[in-house]
């Protein structure tokens, strides 16, 4: 071994090198890419229906994002059309950089209805509201409610489509 080195004062910047996530380093932030998947409970004219939804969201700023969703109803009452809907639209986050965030969104897109019978395309609009609770800096739970509205046609008539959906599930953000 070499000669003993002289003692030195403590490193004035030791704290600068500590890599530890802070408990409050959570929440919606600019630039985030977020993925969310949830179970979907819909309420239609003929009763409840069940499905799933996946959403990708890119945050252009801490407040404004663009989200795209894919929703699918798996179980529904006999009178209701099956739905596979893809929609995209802006989102407005009201409480970024906080553990609990509330956002409004307005998506628009197309849905294929009655996929097992005679499929027909239907334009839809989906305004809604989401609440998310951040568990860590990258994982959150989200619940959202939205209204899907559209008009679709069958061989003999035009039908209005109106659903109130509740979606809940986990999400991640990078």
């Amino acid at each position: 071994m070499g000669a003993a080195l002289p003692a030195h004062p403590p490193d004035p910047y030791a704290a600068e090198y500590v890599v530890a996530p802070s408990d409050d380093d959570v929440g919606t932030a600019a630039g985030q890419a977020r993925a969310f998947a949830g179970g979907l409970l819909g309420i239609g004219r003929d009763g409840p229906e069940l499905g799933a939804q996946g959403t990708l969201e890119l945050m252009a700023s801490a407040y404004l994002g663009v989200r795209a969703s894919l929703a699918w109803t798996a179980l529904r009452p006999g009178g209701e059309p099956m739905l596979l809907a893809a929609s995209i639209g802006p989102s407005l986050h009201l409480v970024p950089y906080r553990r609990v965030d509330v956002s409004l969104f307005f998506e628009g897109g197309f849905a294929g209805v009655d996929l097992t019978g005679r499929p027909t395309a239907m334009p839809i609009v989906s305004p809604g509201l989401a609440v998310e609770v951040w568990l860590t800096g990258w994982a959150f739970l989200r619940g959202e409610g939205r209204i899907d509205w559209g008009i679709y046609g069958t061989s003999d008539a035009a039908h209005g489509y109106l659903r109130l959906f509740a979606v809940a599930g986990p999400g991640i953000a990078i």
């Binding site: 002289p6 090198y17 890599v19």
Partner: protein, 485 residues
Amino acid sequence: MKPAEVLVLGAGPAGLAAAARLLERGEGSVRVRVVHMQDAPGGKAASWRSADGAIVEHGWHMMVGFYRNLFALMRRAGIDRTSAMVSMQGQSHCFEPWDGAVHTLSSAGGRLAVAARFAAYDGLPAVDRANFARFMAEAFALALSGERLTRHDDVCFDTWAVEQGLRRHVTRYSIFRFLRLAYFNFPEQISAYHVLQTMKLMSTSDDAELFACRGAYGEAVWKPIADYVTRLGAAFQPRVFVTRWLYDGDRIAGVRVADARPTGPLAPAHDDLPIVSGTERTLDGFDYVLSTLPLPVFTAMNRDDARMWGSPFFRRMLDLRSAVTMALTVVTSRRVPRSFPGPLHGFASPFDFVVDMKPYDAEAARDPAVGSMLVFGGQERGFEAWTDEQIVAFTLENVAPVFGDVRTLGIVKTEMHRNRHPWEQLFLSEPGVQPFRPDPRTPFRNLFLAGDWVRNAVDVVAMEGAVACGIEAADRLLAAASGGG
């Protein structure tokens, strides 16, 4: 028509580039005299020879692929870049204390590859890596988007990154800190503009290539350039220290100077100005002055002159700061157990990076008594009261996780210096500096400014920034001399 007499103050990269430009473009319309304070040219990139013949640099320097103006000047001066400089294989490295490993950053491949490799840096845990990759991809995209990057100057890079969604603790990893260390800013913050501008400048593998000098910078680069400028017709006056402006209205009429005592790492330490008393005199007889004086020297001149320093143009300079850089060389008789091409970052301040110069320095490479030549760089802030011995001990502790106990390799030499004098300090590119950095043109119609602290097309604190600024100032001066500016 009588040629315009131009007095260039300083023979660092900016002064040499300015003098060369004036004579190359002036086409006989200017005569250039260069006065500088040291024996040899180079300014803050100068080098010396110690009594035993060893090279002593002001600090560790490298050249980067985007130094186009400097490379072009070297070419015109007849310097064969391939013999003067050696590539460091397109690599730099980061030591990450959290995993105790060294991670390599390579600049090989095209533009996308450089960004992708940076974004895919493997020195972070998976979740943080994803966050870092997303952020870096976005930052590179912004840097290359053509957007006016100066709008990001007023915020520090850490805060800017958090605003873009980088999780706060990720700014503590070495890979992130390195972006701020690159300009000797740590523990100060660095402007987001300067980091984004660097990403823009270093976005291709050619532009990001790092080069080390095979020998002393002064001998390999600055002296041949000064010789070239002399061949163009310039006259050099070494050992002249500038102390005061003499002006008449909006024109600099004279410059007070004195003979300079020896300065640099080998000169005796002194607290006062390095001037020989009784040698004060006035330089006059010039039409224009092109000053490349470092910021702390410039702002010390005429400080009792309320008229000059009360004017908005000059007053804002007083808010700019400089950093005291430090250099440490540790030569061992046996090789360090691990060697990396290029610089290795990520150690605790004050010496946050190290380069083993054994393969690059021609004299060390052929000297069998030199096993490794570890050259460290950093900034002094926070360690002003520490002795050199304490800093060396601390630094060797810091590098032990990578190199082991360096003392067991047989230390044959340690050499450390702190660049505390005003003429040695490096401009600090803090957040919000851009509005305070002057343009080359000043309210004195015959005074032009250049240097890394003056705004220029490159704008980052590097030799290339100084050279680009020297060229720009020379062009402005020539335009003014021809009645066009």
